[in-house]
C-alpha cells in the first residue's frame, strides 16, 4: 500500500525537477492556506449571522405569515427538478442514494441553522423531488407530459407566490424563479429567431440577424435597465411590476443567445432530412416542427442547460432595477451595522451556494452531453 502511494507521489508530484520544484513551492503554501481557512471557518467565524438572517437570504422581505407559499413553491421546484432529471438520467441505486444523501445533508443543515420544522419541510421537498424523478423516468413515452408539467409548474409557482405582490419577492427564491421563468420564456423566441436567421425570406433573415447581433454586443445590464425604464413610458396607465419588466429584459437579451445555439443545432441537421421531407411535399411548418427542430434541439440541449447557468449568474444584475436577489439580500444584511464585521462569513456562504448550484448545472450539462454523444453513436 505504502509503495503504491509512494509511486503515485513520485509520478504525480516529483516526476521531473521542474515538477518537484513546483510541488515544493505549492505544498507548503497550500497547507498554510488550508490551515488558515480551517482555523477561520471553525474557530474565528461567527456563523450565527447566516442562521440568523436565513429568512432574508432565502426569501428577502417576503411576509413571514405567508412563508407557506414559499415552501409550496420549493416543493414544486423540487418536483420540477426531479422530473427534469427523470427525462435524461436513470434513477439508478447509486444516483438515488447520492441525491438522497445530499437531501438529508441539506435538511440537517437547515434544521441546525433555523429550526427543526424547516428541516422537516426541506426533507419533505427532497422526497417529493426524488418521487418525481422516479415517476418521470419512462423513456420517451411521457416526455411531452413532463414538458407540459414543467410549464405548469412555473405557472403554479407564480400563482402560489404572487398574492402578497411581486415587490416582496426576494432572496434565493427570486433568483431561482427568475432563472427558470426566463429560461422557458427565451426558448420559443430564440427558436423563432434562429429559424428567421436561416429563413429563405431575405427580409426576415436580415431582421433576425440584426436583432441577434445587436443584442449580443450590448451588455445585459443595459438591456434590463432600459426595458425597465421604457415600459412605464409605453404603458403610462398600467403599472407593470418591476419583476415582470426585468424578466422581459432578460428574455429579450438571452433569446439572442438561444437563437445562436439553436442555429448551430439547425446546421447540424443533415441536409438530406430536409430534402427528404420536401420530396414528401411537407409544408414548411410540418417540416420544421416535426423533422428539423426535434433533431436540432436534441443536439443543443447541453448548451441550453449551460445557458441556464448564464441566466442564473446574470440574475444578480437585478439590483439595477431595485430587486433584492440572493446577492443583494446578503449585501443588505451586511449593511446592518451590527453585522458589518461579518463580511467574510456572508460572502463565503453566498459563494458556496452559488458554486453548489452552478456546479450542479454544469455537471448536468456535461452529463447530458455525454449521454447524447453515446446515443448518437
Amino acid at each position: 500500500m505504502s509503495t503504491l502511494a509512494l509511486r503515485w507521489v513520485h509520478r504525480n508530484l516529483f516526476a521531473k525537477p521542474f515538477d518537484a520544484a513546483l510541488s515544493l513551492v505549492i505544498i507548503p503554501l497550500l497547507a498554510w492556506a488550508a490551515y488558515a481557512f480551517a482555523h477561520w471557518a471553525l474557530i474565528d467565524a461567527h456563523w450565527q449571522v447566516v442562521g440568523g438572517s436565513f429568512k432574508v437570504l432565502m426569501t428577502g422581505i417576503y411576509p413571514a405569515d405567508q412563508l407557506w407559499r414559499a415552501w409550496v413553491s420549493v416543493a414544486i421546484l423540487c418536483a420540477m427538478f426531479g422530473a427534469g432529471l427523470g427525462l435524461s438520467l436513470r434513477p439508478g441505486r447509486t444516483a438515488l442514494a447520492s441525491v438522497g444523501l445530499v437531501g438529508i445533508l441539506i435538511a440537517a443543515a437547515v434544521a441546525a441553522a433555523i429550526d427543526l420544522h424547516s428541516g422537516m419541510l426541506t426533507a419533505a421537498s427532497a422526497v417529493i423531488g426524488i418521487a418525481a424523478w422516479i415517476g418521470a423516468y419512462r423513456p420517451a413515452a411521457n416526455q411531452r407530459i413532463v414538458m407540459s408539467g414543467l410549464l405548469a409548474g412555473v405557472v403554479a409557482i407564480f400563482v402560489v407566490l404572487s398574492p402578497p405582490g411581486f415587490e416582496v419577492w426576494g432572496g434565493l427564491l427570486l433568483s431561482v424563479v427568475l432563472t427558470i421563468a426566463v429560461s422557458i420564456l427565451t426558448l420559443p423566441f430564440g427558436i423563432l429567431l434562429a429559424l428567421g436567421r436561416q429563413s429563405r425570406i431575405a427580409s426576415l433573415r436580415v431582421i433576425s440577424t440584426a436583432y441577434i447581433e445587436t443584442m449580443r454586443s450590448v451588455p445585459l445590464i443595459l438591456v434590463v435597465y432600459w426595458i425597465w425604464i421604457i415600459v412605464p413610458l409605453l404603458a403610462p396607465d398600467t403599472s407593470v411590476p418591476g419583476l415582470l419588466r426585468g424578466m422581459a429584459g432578460f428574455a429579450l437579451f438571452f433569446a439572442a443567445y438561444v437563437a445562436e445555439y439553436v442555429r448551430s443545432g439547425l446546421q447540424a441537421v443533415p441536409r438530406g432530412q430536409i430534402e427528404a421531407a420536401r420530396s414528401l411535399a411537407m409544408s414548411s411548418w410540418t417540416l420544421n416542427v416535426d423533422i428539423v427542430l426535434p433533431q436540432a434541439l436534441r443536439v443543443v440541449v447541453p448548451s441550453l442547460v449551460g445557458q441556464i447557468l448564464d441566466i442564473f449568474n446574470g440574475a444578480t444584475l437585478v439590483f439595477i432595477i431595485g430587486l433584492t436577489d440572493f446577492l443583494r439580500a446578503g449585501q443588505m444584511i451586511l449593511a446592518d451595522p451590527q453585522n458589518s464585521s461579518r463580511t467574510y462569513e456572508i460572502y463565503v456562504f453566498l459563494f458556496a451556494v452559488y458554486l453548489a448550484i452552478g456546479g450542479a448545472i454544469t455537471y448536468a450539462s456535461r452529463r447530458l452531453e455525454a449521454h447524447l454523444a453515446r446515443g448518437s453513436r
Binding site: 504525480n12 508530484l13 516526476a15 521531473k16 521542474f18 515538477d19 513546483l22 510541488s23 505549492i26 505544498i27 497550500l30 425570406i201 431575405a202 427580409s203 426576415l204 431582421i207 445587436t214 449580443r216 454586443s217 450590448v218 451588455p219 445585459l220 445590464i221 443595459l222 435597465y225 432600459w226 425604464i229 421604457i230 413610458l233 409605453l234 403610462p236 430534402e275 420536401r278 447557468l309 442564473f312 449568474n313 446574470g314 440574475a315 444578480t316 444584475l317 439590483f319 439595477i320 446577492l327 449585501q331 451586511l334 463580511t343 467574510y344 460572502y347 453566498l350 459563494f351 452559488y354 458554486l355 452552478g358 456546479g359 448545472i361 454544469t362
Partner: protein, 397 residues
C-alpha cells in the same frame, strides 16, 4: 440551391408568377410589420416623453453636466490645443460620456492584456504533469466559471480592496507597489529635468526603429533594425535618459508619486482579469488538446523536451486556433466592465445612468451607448480578424 431550381421548373408558368408575387408580398408584409412596430415604439416613447415636457433631441449633450465623477479624463481645448484633463462638473454631458468610455476602455484594455497572459498560463497548468498544479488550475477555473461575475467583483471590492490598510500605513510590496484602501500605487514614468533635446530625439528614433522592426518582414532587416533601436536606446541613456522611474512613497497623509489606480478600478480589474482568465484558460486548453497528438509524438521522437515542445511547437499553433474564440471573450469582457456600477466605478453605463437620471433623456442616451458598445464589438472583432488573417495568411504562403 439545386432543389430550389428543380422546384421552380416543375411549376407551371401560370402559377410561377403567382408564386413570385406572393413571395414579394410576404417580404413586404414582414418589412411593413417590423418597421411599423419600431416606428410605433419610437413614437409612443417620444409621445410619453413629450407629455413630460422632453423633446427628442441630442442638444442636451452640450449642456453642463453638473455632477462629478471619481475618475476619468475628457478631451478639451486649452488655448487652441487639444488636451486631456480630468473631468469636472463644469464639463458637458458629452464629455461626461467620454470620460465614462475612457474609464471602460482603460479597464477593458488592461484586462485584455492581463487575462490573455494569465489565462494562457492557467490553461497550460490545466495540462501540467504535476497533479497539484493541474488540479489547482482546474479548481480555479471551475470556481470562477460557476459563480456570478458580480459576486466576484463585489467580493474583491468589499472584502479585499477595502480591507487593505489605510493609505498612511500602506503595505509595501518590493518597494514598488503600494496597496492601500485608497488605491494601489505602481511605479510610474516621470520626465526627468536634465534631459536634453538630443536624448529625446534618440528615444523617438529608438521607438520608430522598434515599430519599423515589428511592421517589416524578413528576419535579417529585422535584426539590423532591432540592433539599431537598442544602440539608440543606449545612446539616449548615455546622453541623459529623458524618462525616469517614479516610485510611490507612503507618507503620513497618504501615498504620493507613481501611478495610482483607484480602489474601484483595482477591484473591477482584478475581478474581470481573474474571471476572463478562467475562460481564456479553457479556450487555450481546448486548443492544445485539439492539436493532433502526432505533433507531441514527432517532437518527442526528435528528442525535444516537453517544455520545448510546448513553447516552440504547440503554442505557436494554438494561437492561430484560439484567435476567434479569444475575440468573443474580449467582447464579453468589454461588456462586463458595465458591472462596475455595482461598486461605483464610473464606466460608460454608469455615466449614462447618471446623465439620463439628471436629464430624463433615456432614449437619446441609450442610442448613443448602444452604438458605442456595437462599435467596440466591431472594432475588437475587426482587430482580431486582422491579426487572424495576418497569422493564418503567413502559414498559407
Amino acid at each position: 440551391m439545386s432543389t430550389e431550381i428543380a422546384e421552380y421548373h416543375s411549376i407551371p408558368p401560370a402559377r410561377r408568377g403567382l408564386l413570385i408575387a406572393s413571395k414579394w408580398l410576404v417580404q413586404a408584409a414582414i418589412v411593413i410589420v417590423v418597421a411599423g412596430l419600431v416606428i410605433w415604439l419610437g413614437l409612443a416613447v417620444r409621445e410619453a416623453l413629450a407629455r413630460k415636457g422632453i423633446q427628442f433631441s441630442f442638444g442636451y449633450l452640450g449642456h453642463g453636466a453638473n455632477f462629478s465623477l471619481s475618475e476619468g479624463v475628457v478631451p478639451s481645448f486649452v488655448g487652441g490645443w487639444p488636451v486631456l484633463e480630468s473631468f469636472s462638473p463644469s464639463h458637458s454631458n458629452l464629455q461626461a460620456l467620454f470620460a465614462g468610455l475612457w474609464n471602460s476602455l482603460k479597464v477593458a484594455l488592461s484586462a485584455i492584456v492581463l487575462c490573455t497572459m494569465f489565462g494562457t498560463l492557467v490553461g497550460i497548468g490545466r495540462l501540467s504533469t504535476n497533479w497539484l498544479v493541474r488540479n489547482l488550475c482546474f479548481g480555479l477555473v471551475e470556481a470562477v466559471r460557476n459563480t456570478p461575475l458580480l459576486i466576484q467583483i463585489v467580493f474583491w471590492y468589499f472584502a479585499v480592496v477595502l480591507r487593505f490598510p489605510p493609505a498612511n500605513a500602506a503595505s509595501n510590496w518590493f518597494g514598488g507597489l503600494l496597496a492601500s484602501r485608497s488605491g494601489v500605487f505602481l511605479p510610474g514614468l516621470a520626465i526627468s529635468e536634465r534631459a536634453g533635446a538630443a536624448s529625446w530625439g534618440l528615444l523617438a528614433a529608438a521607438f520608430a526603429l522598434l515599430v519599423a522592426c515589428v511592421v517589416l518582414g524578413g528576419s535579417r532587416p529585422r535584426l539590423i533594425l532591432l540592433a539599431a533601436a537598442i544602440s539608440a536606446l543606449i545612446a539616449a541613456a548615455l546622453v541623459g535618459f529623458p524618462l525616469g522611474l517614479d516610485l510611490p512613497v507612503a507618507t503620513r497623509f497618504g501615498a504620493r508619486g507613481g501611478f495610482s489606480i483607484s480602489p474601484e478600478m483595482t477591484a473591477l480589474l482584478v475581478a474581470i482579469v481573474v474571471n476572463s482568465s478562467a475562460y481564456v484558460a479553457e479556450i487555450v486548453r481546448g486548443a492544445i488538446e485539439a492539436l493532433p497528438k502526432g505533433q507531441w509524438e514527432a517532437s518527442a521522437s526528435l528528442g525535444l523536451s516537453r517544455s520545448h515542445t510546448l513553447r516552440d511547437i504547440i503554442l505557436p499553433q494554438v494561437f492561430r486556433i484560439v484567435l476567434p474564440s479569444l475575440a468573443n471573450r474580449y467582447i464579453s469582457l468589454t461588456k462586463d466592465t458595465s458591472l462596475g456600477i455595482a461598486i461605483g466605478f464610473p464606466d460608460l453605463f454608469n455615466v449614462y445612468g447618471t446623465v439620463s437620471n439628471q436629464t430624463g433623456r433615456n432614449l437619446e442616451g441609450v442610442v448613443i451607448v448602444m452604438l458605442t458598445y456595437l462599435a467596440l464589438s466591431w472594432i475588437i472583432s475587426a482587430c482580431v480578424n486582422g491579426i487572424n488573417a495576418r497569422v493564418n495568411g503567413r502559414r498559407a504562403r
